[in-house]
Structures are given as structure tokens and as C-alpha cells.
């Protein structure tokens, strides 16, 4: 770290999703994968957050800190993706983009049907849940990227573009379904503006744009903050997320068994679909894993804000508890390694 630093070949490059991580090694079996994930500082920090809430600790993240960390994480992901994009042929993008759009259209419809038919939810509640599960959770995406990095598994640089593309359509579709099925809903146009101008899309897309225009040289200048510090900041953020998720767990009894099962089964189904479509679209092992995770994740930033405005009849306890209290921890702890295992299996049989 000093001035006289010796030959630097081994240094992790700062701006790449294709990490040549010195820690990298490919674990062979799924149990080992799981252990690796569960004992990572990120997942452990999430567990600590849960514990903090369970023991009623007075530990509380200032809201300004939470907001600052999320601004940082979104911008950082965008910047790195953009810098990567600046050296990627854009022709590689269209197939995965189509796969993403397909996911964004199909999954909310499937969720809605399931929740109405078998779950007997009201139109408003079913549509609200469909919006959340069709959209994507940026933090889960980030966790997947980070896990791939820890495994030394290359991931396409344009993935953040896909996140921006997956975030919107499902919410719009779910809201449209709700309109058809009921009257007296809130303002759809306001809700759509809320999503497009929402900070998650703005920061992701803005970061992509800055990273793309200023290129790898530009990113290099700001790498100590936006690249090197990424995982450490993620640890802090997941500590907070643990506290939030644990608070949600208190409402678990209110949401009923069906939603509990839905919160675990639906991600697995959507995750498999995502891995499959991603692989078909030519994504690498790591890329397909990440797309699967994206499909499996439930939004809890963009969707709740839009749904609260456009569908005030829906009960926030239901969608927040399912997305934050059930699906997020599930994906973080078990889902991601599972989608990776599936992707590995797919890619092994394919080649």
C-alpha cells in the first residue's frame, strides 16, 4: 500500500466485473458454495442486523446513512457497468435484453394469476405483489455480482443495463392489470413518473452513462471510492437491511402461510426461468446466474413507492413483508448459491 510497492501484477483490477480475484477458487460442490456464501462478511452482517433487532438493540442507522449508502451502491454499480460497456460490442447486448424484457412481462402476469387463483388475494393485493416480484431488487443484484466476484466467475459488464430494463415493465403491467380489475385507483401517470424518475433508475442509468462516457480511464480516477470500497460499504448496508428485514418478520404471522410459501417458491421458479433464458440468450455462467437472481428478486424500493401511489387499496404489510422479510433473506442466503448451481449445471450440460 506504500510508495515502494513491488510489481503489481497481482493487484485486482479495479474496474472489472471479470475479476482476477486472488481469492478466487471454484468450489466443487453445492454445500461448499453455500458455506462460502453464508460465511461471507456480507451475509454475516445481514445476520447481525437481524440479531440487533431481535435483542431490541438501540443500534439504529441514521436515515441519512441508509440513503447515502444506497446512492453510493447504485451509482457505483452503474459506473462500473458503464466503464465495462465502453469496451463491449453492443451487439452482444440485444439477446440478453430481449430475455430480460420477456421476464419483465411474463413474471408479473404469472404471479398475479397465481395469487388470485390459488391465494385468493384481492385484485389490489395480488397486483401489488405481482409488481414487486416482477420487478428487481438492486441490492439482491449487487449481492449476486459480489458473490460471483468472490468466486472469480466473470460476469458481463452490461448487467446493470438489464437491471434498469427489468425494473420498470413489471410494475407498469401489474398496475394496468389492477386498473382493468377495479375502479378508484390512484394516478397511473404519477406512478410511472415515480418509477422512471425514481432514484434507483436514475442512479443506475446515470452511472452507466458517466462510466460509458468517461471510460476505464475515468473510472480509474475514482476507483478507490467506487470500486475498492464497494464490498465494505455493502457490508454496512446489509447490516441495516438485516435490521429492516427483521422488523418485517414481526408481521409474518399476519401475512398467512400462502404468502410465506409464495415468497420462497416463486423466487426459485423465477430464478430458474431467469437462468434458463439468460443461458439461451448467450450469457456466461456468471451472467446467467445474475440474471436468474434478478428475476428471482422482489423490488422493495421502486415498487413500493409506485404501488403506494397508484394502488393505495393494497395492504403494504403484505408486499413489504413478503419482499423484504421473506424473499430478500432467502435469496441472499440460499437463492444466489442455488441459482449459481443451476447455472453451472446448465452450462456444463450445454458444453
Amino acid at each position: 500500500m506504500g510508495l515502494q510497492q513491488p510489481p503489481a501484477l497481482v493487484r485486482r483490477p479495479r474496474f472489472s466485473f471479470q475479476p482476477h480475484d486472488p481469492l478466487r477458487y471454484k468450489p466443487v460442490d453445492t454445500l461448499e458454495l453455500l458455506r462460502l456464501n453464508l460465511l461471507s462478511p456480507m451475509v454475516l452482517a445481514f445476520v447481525l442486523g437481524i440479531v440487533a433487532t431481535l435483542v431490541h438493540s438501540d443500534l439504529k442507522f441514521p436515515e441519512a446513512l441508509y440513503t447515502s449508502l444506497s446512492i453510493y451502491l447504485l451509482l457505483s454499480i452503474g459506473l462500473k457497468g458503464g466503464a465495462e460497456l465502453s469496451t463491449t460490442p453492443l451487439t452482444a447486448l440485444w439477446k440478453p435484453a430481449l430475455a430480460t424484457l420477456a421476464l419483465g412481462i411474463f413474471t408479473p402476469v404469472a404471479s398475479y394469476a397465481l395469487l388470485r387463483r390459488w391465494g385468493r388475494f384481492s385484485v389490489a393485493d395480488a397486483a401489488a405483489l405481482a409488481a414487486h416480484y416482477g420487478s428487481v431488487s438492486a441490492v439482491t443484484f449487487i449481492a449476486a455480482i459480489t458473490f460471483m466476484q468472490a468466486l472469480g466467475e466473470p460476469v458481463e459488464g452490461f448487467m446493470p443495463t438489464l437491471v434498469a430494463m427489468l425494473e420498470v415493465p413489471a410494475i407498469v403491467i401489474a398496475l394496468l392489470i389492477a386498473r382493468r380489475g377495479m375502479s378508484g385507483t390512484g394516478s397511473l401517470s404519477e406512478a410511472i413518473h415515480e418509477i422512471f424518475a425514481g432514484r434507483s433508475i436514475l442512479l443506475l442509468a446515470g452511472g452507466l452513462f458517466i462510466g460509458f462516457l468517461s471510460g476505464k480511464k475515468g473510472l480509474e480516477q475514482i476507483a478507490p471510492v467506487f470500486v475498492d470500497s464497494f464490498r465494505g460499504v455493502l457490508v454496512l448496508f446489509l447490516l441495516e437491511m438485516g435490521m429492516v428485514a427483521a422488523k418485517r418478520l414481526r408481521d409474518l404471522s399476519k401475512v398467512g402461510f400462502f404468502l410465506l410459501a409464495f415468497g420462497v417458491v416463486m423466487p426459485v421458479f423465477q430464478g430458474m426461468l431467469g437462468v434458463g433464458l439468460g443461458s439461451l440468450a448467450g450469457l456466461s455462467l456468471g451472467g446467467a446466474t445474475v440474471l436468474g437472481t434478478m428475476a428471482a428478486s422482489a423490488s422493495y424500493i421502486a415498487a413500493p413507492a409506485a404501488v403506494r401511489i397508484a394502488l393505495p387499496q393494497a395492504n403494504p404489510s403484505l408486499y413489504l413483508t413478503a419482499a423484504l422479510g421473506i424473499t430478500f433473506p432467502f435469496n441472499l442466503a440460499l437463492g444466489i448459491p442455488l441459482y449459481y448451481a443451476i447455472s453451472r449445471w446448465l452450462h456444463a450440460t450445454a458444453s
Binding site: 441508509y66 403506494r308 401511489i309 393505495p312 413489504l320
Partner: protein, 108 residues
């Protein structure tokens, strides 16, 4: 001197309208207030608990408190609108007090 005696200084008696509502309504409430005749408002970020449970974080949804000094007429107009547009589905409480305002003409 009795505590509730009137003041020598020239003040006008107006209504102080206080609305505590979930933060997601901020823009809409401000727009409505202005449209219905309020000349200004003061906004505070707060937390709270009521029939819809605790509201104190990003996800539970924080609350805001909007205060506006208005004429009784405007107060009533705003309250009717709130009752219709927000009370059914959103976490909202609203109440009025009488206040003696200096330069009260500015606010009617």
C-alpha cells in the same frame, strides 16, 4: 393578567391546520393545499404510530407534518378534500387550532 386574555398588539385570529400523513403524499398534499387557497406551509419530518401501525423508517414509510395558517374557509375546504381523497386509504390525521397571528392579513 389572565393567561388567555387578548393581546394589545394587533393580531388576527386564524386557523392553524395540522396534517400528519405518510411521506409519500408530500407532493400531492402541498399541491392540494396551494390549490385550495393556503398561502404557505411549514413541513416537519416526523415519525408516528396510529391505527395503521408504527411509521418510522424508509419502508414502513415516514410521516410528515404539514402546518398551515389559513382562514377558516380555506381550512374547511382543505379538510373536506382530505376526508374525501386521502382518509380512506392513507395514514392521515388532521386537526385545527385557533391561533393569533401577527400580520395575519398576509395569510388569508
Amino acid at each position: 393578567m389572565d393567561g388567555s386574555a387578548p393581546l394589545d398588539m394587533h393580531t388576527v385570529t386564524l386557523k392553524l391546520l395540522t396534517i400528519v400523513a405518510e411521506a409519500v403524499l408530500e407532493d400531492r398534499l402541498i399541491r392540494d393545499l396551494k390549490r385550495l387557497g393556503a398561502k404557505g406551509y411549514t413541513l416537519t419530518e416526523v415519525r408516528g404510530e396510529g391505527s395503521r401501525g408504527v411509521r418510522s423508517s424508509e419502508w414502513e414509510g415516514k410521516n410528515i407534518r404539514l402546518e398551515s395558517v389559513v382562514s377558516p374557509l380555506v381550512a374547511e375546504r382543505i379538510l373536506s378534500h382530505l376526508a374525501e381523497a386521502y382518509f380512506p386509504h392513507y395514514a392521515v390525521i388532521a386537526y385545527l387550532e385557533n391561533v393569533e397571528v401577527v400580520r395575519g392579513e398576509k395569510y388569508t
